[in-house]
Amino acid sequence: MSELAELSKASKPTSITSGPETKQILRPMMGNEAIARGAWEAGVKVAAAYPGTPSTEIMENLAKYPAKDLHAEWSTNEKVALDVAIGGSFAGVRSLTSMKHVGLNVASDSLMSQTYIGVNGALVLVVCDDPGIHSSQNEQDTRYFGQLAMVPILEPTDAQEALDFTKLAFDLSEEFDTPVIVRSTTRLSHTRSLVQTGERVEAVGKGFLELPTKNVMIPGHARIRHRALLEREQKLQDYFETSELVRWEPGSEEVGVITLSTAYTYVKEVLPEASVLKLGVSYPLPEAKIRDFCASVKRVIVVEELEPMIENQLKVMGLSVEGKSLFPREGEFSTEVVREGFESAGLLPPTPKLELIDIQPMARPPLLCAGCPHTTAYMALRALNSRVSGDIGCYTLAAVEPLKAIDTSVAMGSSIANATGIALSGTETRPVVATIGDSTFLHAGIPPLINAVYNNANITVVLLDNHITAMTGGQDHPGTGRNLRGEVTHKVDYEALIKSIGVKWFRKIDSYNMGSVFQSLREATLYKGVAVIILDRPCVLDPVKLKGPAFQVKAENCTGCQACMNLGCPAISWSDELFEGHHKVKIDEAACIGCSLCAQVGSTNCIQPADSGQLQ
C-alpha cells in the first residue's frame, strides 16, 4: 500500500494551478454535459431530441439552463426533433438536435434534403454512436451517414473538446451554410473529465429569410443546390487543411498514426512516441495535410473505431496505409485492443502473459425491476403460446429467461407492422401479438397501427403503458402530460386515439391483475381483427420510486415449485431450506415493492403480505 501511496505522491503535478489563464474554474463534466454546455455557450435557441442512450443527458442538461435562454424539448421522435431544429434554423436562430446513432436513421429523411437547403441560423446535430453495443440494437457508424449527406463531422476526444467542438460547430454551420454533425461515442458521452467553461454569447436572431430557391426543395431548386453542395464540400476541405481541429503531433519517423475520437487516447497511452495526426474531423478530410503527414513517416497506421471510414478514404487517395488489418471492425476499442493491434504490427513486443485471477461468477444480466408492470403481459403471452413481436424498451429483457416470451425485436415501432406481416403471411398458426411501450408507440407505433387496421390484420396489440420513457432513465413524453421542463401540458388520450383509428376491440386493464391480463389476452387473441389492450401501471422507478408494503414467503407453505421465480423478480431468490429436493424461496423485503404478482402466481397460499400474520 505504501508503494502506491508514494506513486500517487510522486505524480502530483506542481504547476497546474499556476499561470494567468487558469483562473477560470475547471469543472468535472460528463461528455454529454460538456456538449450541452458548449451549445448553451454558443447561444443555442432551439433544442429538440428524443431520448436514447448514450445521448439522453445532452437534452436533460440543456433543460437545466433557463427557459429565457432557449427552448428545449422532448420531441415525439428523432425526425420530429430534427425538423423542429430545422424550423429554428429557418427562423434564423441557432438550433440543435441530439440523438443516438439509430435515431439518425429515423431523422435521416429530413437530413438528406436539409443538407441541400443549408442553414439560416446554425444547425448542429449531435449523434452518439455506441461501439460495443452497451445499450442499443446495432453498432452502426454515423460517419457514413455524414458522408452520405455531405455534412461535416466533428470528432471530439474528451469532454473539453466536446464543449469546444460543439461551440465551433455552430460557427462552422453558419460560415459554410451547412448542418454540422458532432459525433460522440458512449465512452466520450459517459466519461467525466475536467473542463474549462466559458460564458454564453447571445446570438442575434436573424429572422426568417425568404429565399424560395433555397428553402423549398423542388427539382428545379434541388439541382442548383446539389451543385452548391459540392462546392461547399471543397470549401470545407480547404478550411480543415489549416484548422486547429487537425493536430499534427510530431514524433518517431518510423511510424505515424492517424487517429481520432477516443481511439486517440488509447494510441497516446500505448504508443506515446509515434507521430500522430489527430483528426478532429472525419469528413471532409484535409487531404494535403494528410499527404504531408504520410510522407513524413515510414509507415502509416489508421486507428479508428468501427468502420474503416478514414482508411478507405486514404486508400482512395492512393496512400499506402494500414488499419483494419490490425484493428477490429466491431466492438469498442480499449488500451488492450489498440496495444494488440500495434503488437501484431510488430511495433510493440508481445505483452507478457499476466497471471490473472480468473473467477467467473454467474452472469448478472440486467433485469426487469422488482414489481415491473411489464412482467404480467409476458407471463400470460408465454402461457398462451403466442408469437410475439417485441419492440425497443426495458421490456426487450422479456426475450430472455425466465420470461422468454418475445420472438422478434427490430427497431423503434417495428412490433406492430412486424406482427401484421406475420399474421398476413398465412403461415403462422399461433396467435400473433405485438407488444410496445407507451413512448415507443408515440414515437413510431401509430402509423403501423393505422396500417394494421387498414389492411385488416388479425393481431393483438399490447400497449404497455408505464407512463414514462423508462429505458433511458425516466423521461416525459406526450403521454405523460408533462414536457421536458416538467411543465403540465396536454396528455395524449390513448383510448380516443386508438378508437379513432378504427380499432373495434379495445380494453384497458391493470397490469397487476394477473387473472384479468390472462383473460383479456385470451379474448383479444380470439378476436378476428386488430385488438388493442392497454396495460396500465406506472414504472416502479420513474418518475417516483415506488415502494409498498413488502410480501414474504410463508416457508411452511412453500413447496419449492418456484412458480414465482418465473417472474424473474430480482427480490425473489432461493432460501436455504429445501422441500422435496427443491429450494424454497425467500423475498428480499427491502427490494420488494409489494406488487403482489408472486402471491398471485403462487398456488399454495405461500406468499403473503409481510406484516399480516393474522391473514394466515
Binding site: 502506491l4 494551478t17 488500451t335 432461493w574 429436493g581 427443491h582
Partner: protein, 309 residues
C-alpha cells in the same frame, strides 16, 4: 512514404525508443445497478481534482438501473489519456457486492493490487435457475478466505452491517470510502470535506463516523482471523447431498380432464399444453422438475405423480 511490403520487413522489430507514459493511478469501482457505484467514483474524482490531478471517470448508463453489473473507471495522474483501465492494471478494486468484486479481479494488478470489498451478496434470479433436485445456487462459491489466499491485499468487510451498527445502513458506501482512503495518499480531512459535499446534509455526521470506522477497520485488519474461517456462502453455496428422486413424471387421466387449462397456465416450467382435443398433455417431459404443482392444482384429480416402485 515508401511502399508497404518494404515497411513490413523494416518494422518487424519493435521500436526500442518508445517509453511508457507516466502511469496514472487506476481505481475500478464495481457493483450492482442502484448500489451507488457512481456516487463513490464521483467522490473520488472530485477529490483527485481538488488535489490538483487530471482525472477521468468513465461509466456506462442505460442498463445500470436494471440490476445489472455496473462499473466505473477512475484514473488520475499528471496526464490521463485513456478513460478506461486495462485488464491487470487496477491499483485498487472497490467492490460494493462480493460476486461483482470477484468478476472484476482480473483487472487488479497482480501482486500489488488492493481489493476492497463489501461482503454483501445480491443473489440474482439468474443464479437460481437450476430446477433439478438438489441443485446448487449459481452464486460465487469463493469465500473471503479463498480470495485472501489468492491475493495479498484483500480487505473484505460487511460494510452494510457495520454501517447499520452505526445507525444507518445507507452509510455503507462511505464506510467503503474510508477503507479506500487507506490505499490512496490523500489526507483524511480532505476526504471528509469532499464526502460532506456528496451526502445529504442531515447525514453528514453519521457519514463522517462511517468514514472513520472504515479507515480504522483497514488499519486494524488482521488477515489471521480468516484462517480456517468458514466459507462465505451463508448456506447458499453449500453443496447439498444428492437428493433421491421419489417420483415419476406426471400421469394425466384423459377422461377426467375438462380442458380448464389451469395446469398449463401454472406449470412453472411450461412443460404442459393442451393437445388438439384440448386435453392436457406433458409435451416437454425433459423440463419437468417433479414439483407437483399440476397435481395439487388440478380440480379434477386428473394429474398424479406416482411414487417410484
Amino acid at each position: 512514404m515508401s511502399d508497404s511490403s518494404q515497411i513490413q520487413t523494416e518494422a518487424s522489430q519493435p521500436l526500442t525508443n518508445l517509453q511508457p507514459v507516466k502511469v496514472p493511478i487506476n481505481v475500478l469501482v464495481v457493483g450492482v445497478g442502484g448500489q451507488g457505484v457512481i456516487m463513490i467514483s464521483k467522490v473520488l474524482a472530485a477529490l483527485c481534482q481538488q488535489q490538483g490531478f487530471q482525472v477521468k471517470q468513465s461509466e456506462v448508463h442505460g442498463m445500470a438501473k436494471r440490476g445489472g453489473s455496473v462499473f466505473s473507471h477512475v484514473r488520475y495522474g499528471e496526464q490521463v489519456y485513456s478513460p478506461t483501465i486495462p485488464v491487470g492494471q487496477a491499483d485498487v478494486l472497490v467492490a460494493l457486492e462480493w460476486a461483482e468484486g470477484l468478476r472484476w479481479l482480473p483487472y487488479l494488478k497482480p501482486e500489488t493490487g488492493i481489493f476492497i470489498a463489501d461482503t454483501q451478496q445480491i443473489v440474482p434470479p439468474f443464479a437460481c435457475r437450476d430446477r433439478k433436485h438438489g441443485a446448487r445456487s449459481g452464486y460465487a462459491k469463493e469465500s473471503v478466505a479463498d480470495i485472501s489466499e489468492l491475493i495479498s491485499n484483500c480487505f473484505a468487510a460487511d460494510a452494510g452491517q457495520m454501517a447499520a451498527e452505526l445507525g444507518n445502513a445507507k452509510a455503507a458506501n462511505t464506510l467503503l470510502l474510508g477503507m479506500l482512503s487507506t490505499a490512496l495518499d490523500f489526507p483524511a480531512d480532505d476526504w471528509k470535506q469532499v464526502i460532506a459535499q456528496f451526502v445529504p446534509p442531515k447525514t453528514v455526521d453519521i457519514n463522517m463516523e462511517a468514514f472513520t470506522q472504515g479507515r480504522g477497520w483497514v488499519e486494524r485488519y488482521d488477515p489471521a482471523v480468516l484462517k480456517g474461517g468458514k466459507g462465505h456462502g451463508k448456506g447458499l453455496t453449500e453443496s447439498h447431498a444428492p437428493h433421491e428422486v421419489q417420483f415419476e413424471l406426471p400421469v394425466i387421466t384423459e377422461a377426467w380432464c375438462k380442458s380448464c387449462d389451469i395446469c398449463v397456465k401454472f406449470c412453472p416450467e411450461r412443460c404442459l399444453s393442451l393437445n388438439e382435443n384440448r386435453i392436457a398433455e406433458l409435451t416437454k417431459p425433459e423440463l419437468c422438475t417433479l414439483c407437483r404443482i399440476c397435481e395439487r392444482l388440478c380440480p379434477d384429480f386428473a394429474i398424479s405423480l406416482n411414487y417410484k416402485n
